[in-house]
Amino acid sequence: MSLLDVRDLTTSFQTGGGEVTAIENVSFSLEKGEILGIVGESGSGKSVTALAIMGLLPRPPARVLGGSVRFEGQDLLTLSDRSMQRLRGPGIAMVFQEPMTSLNPVFTIGEQIMETIRAHESLSQKDSFARAVEMLEKVGIPAATTRMSDYPHQLSGGQRQRVMLAIALVCRPRLLIADEPTTALDVTIQAQILELLMDLRDEFGMAIIMITHNMGVIAETADRVLVMYAGRVVEQAPVGRLFDHPLHPYTRGLLSCVPTLDQDQDRLIAIPGSLPEPSRRPSGCRFSARCVHAIPACSDVIPPLEIFEQSHAAACIRVGDFA
């Protein structure tokens, strides 16, 4: 049994112009201790997928139209609010993109970590303090005991993200969803945080869903990659395969956007056009309007995600032509 098994997850949002789907038929699974990267542009549905798994989509306006999210065999979409609340923290935890605003400014970081502990376990003040200090040390905050009484504004961005990790991990979750955890940080700090995440994965044996739009982050951390475009999964592959043999034209576009050191380039290659608004998505393949390989048949049907080789799947009717 997989740790997490998402099948045909479809969600929508009620907007002024009617109901639009945010993600459609998203399916993937995740094993214990595995790191799954989800890449895509802003608005491709990465974060909505994460929030849907957490049961944190704002309802209304959001709605889950179909599919299932099985975590350790239990369908989270049918779970009561109360049980879901108990699962968040010890079962699935999440860290967010903005470490600057993810901490409550009026409480010390110690109070915030201990609060999370007390929400799930009945520990004494002394024990939860010790546990919080231990966790702060694990995420690499020096002088953790004195830092406990610091307010968020006294910490740097990287330190705050470490504190966020401490809060997320203090209940030893089996799955951590990291939604662009390094986007707001500068490059050297990014590398430290990613390394820390990998170390903690090894120590706690938790699985991680790493959401990012940064191919570099994926290459460094993920075991397997999910590429999303306009609310759909367009390609799924083990990380090595994806970088060596990308199948979907969108993935190839994304990879060619990354500058390399081996070749001289005057201009970076860009994918023409921009992500369509959810209400104005083209018929058929969502990427067809921007795809250099598009043929008329592309706008007829939405191509299904098909497995080609070695658990490498892509949703493109022309994959055979590229091989």
Partner: protein, 286 residues
Amino acid sequence: MTEPKRASPFRATMRRLLHHRLFVLGCVLFGLILLVAIFAPLIAPVDPNKLSMRMKFRPPGADFIFGTDNFGRSLWSRVVWGAQLSMFIGGAVVAINAVLGTAIGAAAGYFRRLDNALMRINDALMAFPAVLLAIGVTAVLGPSVNDVIIALAIVYTPRTARIVRSSVIVLREMEYVQAALAAGAGHWRILRRHILPNAMAPLIVQLSFLFAYAVLTEATLSFLGVGAVPPTPTWGNIMAEGRQYMTDAPWIITIPGAALMITVLGLNLLGDGLRDVLDPRLRIQQ
């Protein structure tokens, strides 16, 4: 970057407040009235309702600091006890408002389903001019101190609720609320720990102004004869009685008027100071 000082936000705010001159002045003025109210039995031992017809219309002087009124009652006693009543009514209205306004505002702002219903009731109440609505409520309930408090609470709670709601709507979308939800916090914990403490600043400012409004409206109501019934010594009552003798005994109306002015001025300065210090947008401009 230098190591920031380990100061709690509370202490930093206190330090800024104490450097705000007008805030300090407001505190002194309001504090003066508050002290007078608290120690009324000590500083004005003469019964404010003790009639003494032989002593009527004595101007302020050695025997009677503030003079006497048309029934020979000590105006000092009446104004001092009036201060106590004003502070009691103001305090009670603020307390009820803080609780009810926060509860209604937080419920409307946090639980979207309740928003429409609660806010439309709010709007209906806010559509009436404050004094008119208060007169209406006291007309139904009857003119006693408790009923005046209830009336003022009904009049001003919608305003407080609206202010709390607007803060809560902003705070609900903050990342730390999302992060707390992701860590398994329930709605009650989110509201209590993450939303309300951050919504306190505008609420405290509002409540300080509200105290002034409540004192002023209470005085208006008793001046109009729909507040606490005479001979209860309220500033409004004293002024209403003194109005007839304004040319011959101007002290009867001016002294409680001055007390009212000092109270409202003090509270407004205090509220302005709090707003200057607590509002982050104003702080940037300084």
